[in-house]
């Protein structure tokens, strides 16, 4: 039996990736995710993999595009400003259906912003950072264990749906140490073969083209409907969330990722005081778990969405909740001294519980 390890979140991402068979990593330094490229630079050669520190985030994501198009399991990681630079490549990968895993260990913004805890990149992650109207699978871990587990899952979802998947962490999760139970990766048996990948023809009748340009009459529209059908399948089959205490809840708290850790502590404080508070924590923020919000708010209309930003996921919560639901928001944007503690969230619970 494998031992429990005491591991930093960023390293858990890298460990999960290598365990899941990732053998190509291309990245560029940026705080607070540097442990990931550092780990990869050390461990990739030991497993026969490839690590390249690219000249820019732009180059890194295009190396990812190439390796993914060639059929490799490939990953890159960065933080907000770097993800902005990768947005062009991510759009091309979405358009040309290249599977890969992208990790964003968020920091506060906009611009250079800061280097501490924030969830300011929710919109960037789930609404499409790049041009053209596409979606990524977006997984939002809230613990070191989940950083490990969901990174593995991200590779499978990317391969199954032939699209990029994004792991949305943050500086808190990336930089904290926590117990991790490593476990062997088991590839799902029904993952589709990558017969579309560029390998050299090797006797194939037709060359494979991995591309996103469609100029023929109606071709691009057909391609876009094909992509959107895929997103519909994701919404059908891949929604994941955690929900607790909804049966008797008078107030539903909702939060994702690192923010949900603080909320969980605050909910425990509230429950000790006899307040009936439930929780919905999306694990996939795309596909968004819309159904559970609709059902839960039919019974309990009052929702408090807590985010480490100025209000982003709350828009999806409002869109998903039952008509007439009373969706409120509390958040702070991040930056030094801008991380709410559980007591602060508990105060908010008390306030919104009453009025």
């Amino acid at each position: 039996m494998k031992k429990r390890l005491f591991v930093k979140g960023n390293e858990a991402v890298a460990m999960g990736a290598i365990e899941a068979g990732c053998r190509y990593y291309f990245g560029y330094p940026i705080t607070p995710q540097n442990d990931i490229p550092e780990y990869m630079s050390r461990e990739m050669p030991r497993v026969g993999g490839c690590f390249i520190q690219a000249e820019s985030e732009v180059a890194a994501i295009n190396m990812v595009l190439g390796a993914g198009a060639a059929g490799g399991r490939v990953m890159t990681s960065s933080s907000g400003p770097g993800i902005s630079l990768k947005a062009e490549g991510i759009s091309f990968m979405a358009g040309s259906e290249v599977p890969a895993v992208i990790v964003n260990i968020q920091r506060p913004g906009p611009g250079l912003g800061g280097i501490d805890v924030s969830q300011a990149d929710y919109f960037q992650a789930v609404k499409g950072a790049g041009h053209g109207g596409y979606h990524l699978v977006v997984l939002a871990p809230h613990s070191v264990q989940e950083l490990y587990d969901l990174t593995m899952l991200a590779f499978d979802l990317a391969d199954r749906y032939r699209m990029p998947a994004l792991v949305l962490g943050d500086a808190m999760l990336g930089q904290m140490k926590e117990a991790l139970m490593p476990h062997p990766y088991q590839a799902p048996e029904d993952l589709p073969r990558k017969d579309w990948a560029v390998t050299g023809k090797h006797g194939r009748a037709k060359g494979n083209a991995v591309k996103s340009l469609y100029l023929g009459d109606g071709e691009l529209e057909a391609h876009n409907w094909h992509l959107h059908a895929k997103y519909a399948r994701l919404r059908e089959n891949e929604v994941r969330y955690e929900a607790t205490g909804l049966d008797d809840a008078e107030l539903i708290l909702t939060a994702f990722g690192g923010g949900a850790r603080i909320v969980k502590t605050a909910i425990a404080m509230a429950r000790r005081e006899g307040l009936k508070v439930g929780l919905i924590r999306p694990v996939t923020v795309y596909p968004f778990p819309a159904e559970i919000y609709r059902k839960a708010t039919e019974r309990t209309p009052k929702v408090l969405c807590v985010e480490l930003n100025n209000g982003q996921m709350v828009e999806d919560v409002r869109l998903s909740s039952a008509p007439g639901a009373d969706v409120r928001f509390y958040g702070r944007p991040g930056g030094t001294g801008s991380l709410p503690n559980p007591e602060e969230i508990f105060e908010q619970i008390c306030k919104h519980y009453k009025d």
Binding site: Y24, F26, C50, I52, A54, E55, S56, V58, A59, A60, N62, M63, V64, L65, G66, A67, G68, A69, A70, G71, G72, V74, E88, G89, F92, S96, V198, T199, G200, K201, H202, G203, G207, N208, A209, V210, K211, S212, L213
Partner: protein, 260 residues
């Protein structure tokens, strides 16, 4: 009689039997053919992966009978890097124009060369942005009129044309860097040999290999095909001299083409 008929010239196997969209007098078609011939001569059609770029040559996959990835504008050398590391025994080449390679993709080409990526880069320099309609390129010659340098390129405000073959020759990872032209049959034959050499070096793992081809763009130069072809020698070669700027396999002194 029939038994005496020999095929002495035919379409390269790596090229599809389709008409291209290129304008009359454009040199892309010739360069496509030379690349396809090199792939054939190496016997590498089944192992070759081409990386298309953004510009007139974006439809690479329509013309080459090989696997192709379409790269974002300027990023082909990075995409090629990713492909090559997944399939190290494949033959990977990028095919890029001057806007793509020498402007928006400057970082990617320099660092792919400097890392010594084992890829072959074919660079068609026609001193203009062809597909977008003849705007100023990083290789536009001093005084040259384009749609965004309507008074002629003024080097005091718009900078100087970039000599990529010379620039890349200075980098440690570059195994081969040359500039050729295809405006005469003789030069086209020499260009073919040079391109083949750049592919052979990849197979022999002798470093990053780069071939700049001076090309004509009659449409955006506002010239007849014949005049545009003549401009390559008359105006371009002074600023962009043909020759081999680096060849790590050569003995002693490098060899500027004797024929030019």
């Amino acid at each position: 009689m029939a038994s005496n008929v020999q095929t002495v010239f035919q379409r390269p196997s790596a090229l599809k039997e389709v008409p291209t969209h290129y304008c009359a007098g454009c040199h892309h078609g010739t360069v496509h053919r030379l690349v396809a011939e090199a792939i054939d001569q190496l016997g590498a059609q089944q192992q070759t992966i081409g990386i298309g770029s953004v510009g007139c040559s974006v439809l690479l996959y329509d013309y080459f009978d090989i696997d192709v990835v379409e790269a974002p504008h300027g990023r082909a050398p990075a995409v090629a890097t990713g492909v090559k590391h997944v399939h190290p025994d494949s033959v990977v080449f990028t095919y890029q124009g001057d806007g793509d390679l020498a402007a928006i993709g400057t970082a990617e080409i320099i660092h792919a060369a400097n890392r010594g990526e084992l890829i072959t880069v074919i660079f068609l320099n026609n001193t203009t942005y062809g597909m977008t309609g003849g705007q100023m390129a990083p290789t536009t010659l001093p005084g040259q009129v384009t749609t965004t340098s309507p008074y002629g390129r003024d080097v005091t405000t718009e900078g100087h044309p970039i000599r990529m073959a010379e620039l890349l020759a200075m980098l440690g990872g570059t195994g081969f860097s040359a500039r050729v032209a295809v405006d005469t049959p003789k030069r086209a034959i020499e260009a073919g040999r040079t391109i083949l050499k750049a592919f052979e070096m990849q197979k022999k793992k002798q470093g990053f290999a780069f071939v700049e081809v001076l090309g004509a763009c009659p449409t955006n130069w506002g010239m007849s095909a014949i005049d545009a072809n003549a401009r390559v020698e008359k105006e371009m070669m002074d600023f962009f001299p043909l020759g081999v700027y680096k060849d790590v396999t050569a003995d002693g002194e490098s060899n500027v083409f004797k024929t030019v």
